[in-house]
Symmetry: C2
């Protein structure tokens, strides 16, 4: 297989765009990627478009990619629409990588996009609720109704569906606390870090800086999760351009190499992140301690702490220690979520995976502005989506290098 | 890129399964493919799942593939959910092919599935209506409301949305009649052929034989289209297994080689089928007259006649002649839609493309029973999906050989 490089990246600031449709968001992200690569759109030979929920939000159930690409004058080429819930965009990137790695196409676009806000909030929540086995969820809902659980505001999702995910994260967090002595303050510190990073990122949905007390005192979603520890609902789009590493020099002096592209799904055995990460490290010939910068799927701040362990940044149970010693701070040994992560940069579901790639692209090229990590050489992204039987339905890990 | 072979195929009879969900349909198709290849499901290394409309029909907007695969005990592996409207399954096959051709995985499952019937028919029609630019369609609908147009029964779609597609096919058919002198009887003869072929196919949704008069006298949808010239709504699933040609001998003495796998989208220039077919012929090093058997996207019978021309089986305007001289009959020089095509085998949107591959697989192996074509060596499939600005949003052409 050919070695593949990312040669351009673009995204819109994640946020609430009641006045902008997906066509506009996607166009701005793609324009940014093309400009960044110095490539005209007529050079794009194939496009893979990730989106999770437009069918339920806008009714555009089919051919979402063609609809937005045609609008910006991109047509004729193969367009693949792919979906893997919150990992839809990482899946799009994986397939775009596959097109190039296989030798089939030379210049391929990966686009992730989501318009999650709707004037009728129920639509947004119903869409998020579909990232599980819907039949099984209906059974679970009936079960949950037998015990009280917390409502949630806009930041946390607000509806029973999104908070169902947050219930899961909360119960996971409580288990970690009980098993390893991890504290609520440690989860809060992850959120402090990500909000601070987000405040430095012009693409971040939330740019406020919060103290530990702010985080702890924000409304409780489900013990120990507070609202500011949870990723918000949002709209957004992110795009990257890929080509063979051997041709990348035509477009840029600083191509970012794709060292591993892994997609996996949950199983009875669990540990799907560990499996995907292991495969990625093997493929790249690197280990977790070779990573200079990481973007991971902090749908809630406890998830980030646990992912430190699952990605092998520390041993099981030591995630809290990593928080305490500042290892994953912007100035630490392995900065995690310099973009602000899902918590602060935002999480427009089908855009997140490519936004993570954008961030690593900018970081490795030294173009990350105020949130720039010192001299990174290797970056990793982890994006997960959906949930079936308490395991992510999809997990994707990418390793990039410069 | 590696040469790829299809080693197993399975599908359920297409039809109306109000009592069966997608999990059951998919399981039966996958079991069939595994049994056909003599492969245990633990050998599957990756799966690509095509589905177009479950989000709007059942609410399962996300991770549809994982939901059905996990149910049958297939987990852990990469699962890509892809969508390209009526060409969703061909897209799934294309990506499965890409996984194998690239060298990334050796045994890959392509699954197409659709549960289109719903006790509330409006849901089915709303889902079909989403295979266009939904924003643009709303404008078109407003325009269409200013002139009367025909309703349609169950076979033809019945709602304003499906009949919007049929309106398009009808206007296309009228144009062909005017330009080339093609007759309504010729369109009807295509339907006679496909229904007759379907009557020989145990997987076909409709197995009735009709006379020319039956077809012409069935309810008018939009001149010249009658109900029996149109593909029905249906439920179904189809699956195939792919592996490298170099390994296929381990599994079967009769692997079916994939000679070309092409995906394209519509453009301002039109002729998207011609472009896709041309690319497929070039890749395979073959021409249209090398094809022994063809499965194509006869969403309506005029579409089949026009596709004869677009695929190069005859010159522009000569589709009617091909019908008259019986070239595309089961016993003709180039049998087309031996399965009964979309019109008779049925068209559960996201399953159709893989069902076409299944049919060619069986035909090339001499396993097509009563509808077996004499000694075919090369088969072609054409699957198209969605419509944007009067062009298919997605077109896929595959060439297979034995």
């Amino acid at each position: 297989m050919r070695e593949v490089a990312v040669i351009g990246a673009g995204m819109v600031r994640f946020g609430k765009y009641l006045d902008k449709g997906m066509k506009v968001l996607a166009r701005d992200a793609v324009s940014g990627a093309l400009a960044s690569a110095g490539v005209g759109q007529e050079r794009i030979q194939a496009a893979v478009v990730g989106n999770a929920m437009a069918g339920l939000i806008t009714g555009q159930e089919c051919v979402r990619g063609q609809v937005v690409l045609r609008e910006m004058g991109i047509s004729g080429i193969p367009v693949v629409n792919c979906e893997n819930a919150c990992a839809s965009a990482a899946t799009a990137f994986h397939l775009a990588w596959l097109y190039v790695a296989s030798g089939m196409y030379d210049v391929v676009l990966a686009l992730g996009m989501e318009k999650l806000y709707h004037s009728d909030k129920k639509r947004s929540f119903a869409a998020i609720a579909s990232a599980v086995d819907v039949e099984a969820m209906q059974a679970l809902k009936a079960q949950l109704q037998s015990r009280p659980h917390e409502g949630a505001g806009e930041q946390s999702g607000g509806g029973s569906s999104h908070s169902m995910f947050m219930d899961f994260y909360a119960s996971f967090a409580r288990k970690h606390m009980k098993t390893y002595g991890t504290t609520k303050e440690q989860f809060a510190r992850v959120a402090v870090k990500n909000h601070r990073n987000g405040s430095l990122n012009p693409y971040a949905q939330y740019r406020e800086v919060y103290t530990l007390e702010d985080i702890l005192n924000s409304p409780l979603i489900a013990e120990p999760l507070t609202r500011l520890m949870c990723s918000p609902i949002g709209d957004g789009a992110a795009a990257v351009l890929l080509c063979p590493q051997s041709m990348a020099g035509r477009y840029t002096a600083k191509p970012v190499r794709v060292l591993a592209s892994v997609l996996a799904s949950g199983s009875e055995e669990g540990a799907s992140v560990e499996r995907a990460a292991h495969q990625a490290y093997e493929t790249a010939g690197l280990g977790p301690h070779d990573c200079s910068v990481i973007e991971l799927h902090d749908a809630s701040s406890p998830a980030e702490l646990v992912l430190y362990e699952e990605l092998g940044l520390c041993r099981p149970g030591e995630g809290g220690k990593l928080v305490d010693d500042g290892t994953t701070e912007l100035t630490g040994r392995i900065p995690v979520n310099p973009s602000g992560g899902l918590i602060a940069r935002g999480h427009p579901v089908g855009a997140t995976g490519v936004a993570q790639i954008c961030e690593i692209f900018w970081q490795l090229r030294g173009e990350a502005g105020e949130r720039q990590v010192a001299n990174p050489k290797v970056g990793l992204t982890e994006n997960a989506g959906g949930m079936i039987r308490n395991e992510p339905a999809a997990v994707s890990v990418h390793i990039l290098g410069i």
